[in-house]
Amino acid sequence: MALPPPDPQYVLRGANDAVNTLCFHCADPKPELPLLFSGSSDGQIHIWNIKTHRMDRMLNGHGGKSVLWVKTLGNRNTLLSQGRDQNVCLWDLAEGRKDVTDSVFTDHAGFCKCSLLQVAERRWLMAMPGKDLEEVRVLELPSKTSVCTLKPEADAKLGVPLCLKLWQPSVGSSPSLLAGYEDGSLVLWNLSVGKSLSRLACHQEPIMALDFDSEKAKGVSGSSEKMLCVWRQNEQQDLEMQQTCQLTNPGIADVALRPDKKILATAGWDYRIRIFGWKKLRPLAVLDYHTATVHCVAFSDHSQSRERLMAAASKDHRISVWAIYNQT
């Protein structure tokens, strides 16, 4: 008889609205405390202390509009946040400050989250949805210079982008962008020439989330359907379907691969978090704790693998933190 699924390690309460996004920052050497950043629908950004399980600070910079995405930029004191006020803000949190030092106006009214990739020491690329419906812009940070604007051909009819993932095959090589669109297709963009390399219509419904394993050149995407798609980039650099996995209930809000690429977590509209083995997409666990749609799952970046955690943010105002499969 299989073991019953575990309960959450602890639950962070105190966000007064649905939590949309999470970002761990735990890799700093001691004595720095591990942190978890979260963004909620009421425009608040919360900084949680993972050690004490208490809220550390609260940031308010998007004028009460929902926060879609938060990400630390290199260190714990620099934070990027994207809100529905169509701004991406850069925060300075050092020495107890909570100031917005810079911001970029996306001019995009959708829900698409940005994607960040470090390409060199103190140099990042950020992909964000652009002004035109179908367009994606890529900026270099911190200089904010535009690298390219990715616009599909006029007859492609992809719809708006809904999820983005910047990646590069290895450090130093030219970065690529994977974007999931409203019509259920996935497009691989080459940033250096600004052209689409491949398009894969893997879903019937809009793609809600995707993640990509650059070592195995294999990725996963979820939509509002009852299935997960696993696809890969073949030798000709084209995307091709590899496998699908049927789920019990429809709707995937987020997918996340653990940094060691062993397991995959999905955030479901059915209030459940599902864990799969990444190699074969074998279902491993169904975590049933939340009482509303789960919006986001994230794995911590602890340097010690035993301390690794997984967090899930839900519409029920709670963030559940789990220690699952962190012994292997």
Partner: protein
Amino acid sequence: MDLLPVCRAVLEANSILSSSRDGIQICETLQTIKRYLGGTESPPSLKEKEEFIHRHFTTFLQCLISNVGPDWLELFPSDEEKELWDSFFLEGPADQSFMVLLDSVISTGPSFRLNKVTEVLERFLQRGGLSSLMWEVCRHQSQAGSPVLQEALLNRVVCLPDHLANKLRGENHPVFFPQNYFPLLGVEIVRVLERISESLRGGLDCSIAFVSQILGKVCVHGRQKEIMSVLVPHLTDRTQSDCIWQRICWRLIESVPDRWMEAVICGFVRAAPGSAVLSRLLGNLVVKSKKSQFVMTQKLLLLQYSHPTAVLQSLLGYLALDSTRRPLLIKVLKELLGTWGSSSAVKHSPVEQQLYISKAILICLSHVKDAEIESNRQELLTSVMEGMKCHLDSNLPQIRHLGMVVAESISTRITPEGPALKFQYEEDEELRELKSLLTPRTEQTLVGDLPGIANNRPPVASSAVLKPSVRPSLGASEELGKGVDSDLDSDDDLVPYDMSEDKELRKIKAPAYIRDCIEILTGPEDADKYEATVGILETLIRRNAAAAREVSVELTKVLLHLEEKSYIEGFMGLRQSALVALAVTDPVPVSHFLTTEFYSLNYSLRQRMDMLDVLATAAQELSRPIPPKPERLPGVKQPSIHILSGENPDPSDWRRVVEERIRSKTRRFAKGPSRAELPCTPNKFGPVAGHFFFPLLQNFDRSLATFDLLGDDHMVLGRLAHTLAIVMYFAVNAAVAAVMGKALLEFVWTLRFHTDAYVRQGLLSSVSSTLLSIPAEHLLEDLSEELLETQAWLADVAERDPDGNCRSLALQNLLLMENLKKKLETVPFE
């Protein structure tokens, strides 16, 4: 007359042999006589030889044997002379030597002489004496040999192993063991046939009747397997391309006397590796001989049922292979269908036989051509209709399934273009095998099927058989390699958690109070609410017993009439577990309600059986309450938004149901441990057992317009009997047990000759639970008369019942009675 010297020489020799003690003289005498057998430098005249062989050889041999003794043989100076003695038996006419040898074996007691004779007999057999013997008889049969002598020879040849085993007992030689002797005889028969075929080719006529008789007699003595294992492969081989051999083979079987024909045909049918071979060996025997036709079309198919499926396939394939035999195939099919469709056969013949007949029907169908079916369609249709009715009427699921499969198969053949008959049933191994018979086997696979025959084949053939069997193993190892390879890349180090809770999300909240449930179940239709309610009901009843008692009867009524309005997973189970929960929480009113309703109008059979099931399950739960499990607090341990925990029944509940099923079927007395457990927990069933039991017994013989237990509804009667058995069983140690037992035995007595096997099984179960539940001393005090009656009936059932389950149940009951008796004897009354 120049024959006198022969006579004189023999007389002289006899007297010398019996009187002389001089080795040289004896040797000379033997040499002289040996001359008459020929083969020496001065051959006797033909007439002398014939005279010697016909008149004097037997007496001379007898004399040789009667004079042999330990001292006598020492007179011979060398081995050569000893050999001379043996050579008379080995080289002389085989029939006479054999007769003399075996006669002396039979007549002598254990002695040196007996040893000597058996030794010579062994050498005789090893040197192929039997074939010369048979050849001798065959050659002379045309000259009208004496039938008495032939009869005697036949007896001796066939019964040789018996005679020698009787005589030698522990010191028997291996060559005389039946398992060695009969294969040897088979080889010798082949040799004789070879000589016969040579002589036929040479234009000489000879009779095969004696060989046929030997074959027949061996077979009728039950040694078909041994002799056929040698004979069939050889004959198969030789008849392949040789028409003289085919004729010989047909003749061999045709000349078997009628009284032994059956055994021979059975032997051939069993040993032949397929219908083509069988057809080659038997020819058109079935058309020519009445007896063999009877055996092949009636006896093997309709009267016996122990043969393996391969026999059926060979036999029916044989009938189908030749156009002169095909009318017989149709006739057989009709007769088989007649039996299959006869309701008395379905009721009274054992399941195994019905399976056998079904197999035969399907094999027939695979051979019959469409045109043949077309011309007999009406007839077939009628018998299918009848057969289907009585099969579906049966209470035994196996028989119902057999009926379904056969009916389906026939209907697709009768109306290939029309809508096919389709039943719902779960396919098991047996049914799959049955269905596979519809596609005729190819002859090639048949050869490899019988390894016993492949061994005895000439080497060329056996290597051909071996080859295909090597290939699959290679393929398997390849597959294995692949499996290992793919396993390397799995997520095996991550052990999955239990994911059974991962069900579809439901929007509707289940009601929290029992009264709400009643409202929802009887109120306007709302599929989601309905489903949630059915799922939660059992939990609610068990959680709040007081509230459940208030509405127990009302809710029971609602549940009994509950319909599955929209598909709900596991609906039947959920409903039943809710009913059981009610019956357990409030036993007296609910059982009263159920037992009364059981005999009232306007219920379907399904509902009535549900009532019985509920009563039985509740009885079990009351008698052995499951220890209260630590309550799972939904808020803490298992935070979930859907609290339909009734959705997936607890594994222990599931096991309970299975155990309960098993228990309701068979051998209760083997369940030692469960009885030992009983005293550990309070038996809540004892005080209410009567409420469950007596009302059920009250009205079984009263037939209603819609419900006739003793008539058509024997399915429910069978279930009633089983339920009573279960209730009785769980009333163990209760005060009313003895009274219940008495009533139950009376019930059993009135129904003991019921034609339905399922009902009888129920009755037998009732008897066992009575025996188990009532203390032994009470049994003998209060129920002695009933027990005696029952015992007589049980003995009868154990011996004669057509149903195997019934027989074994009855036997177990008898054992149980025996054990009780012993127990009473060992424990003296205090």
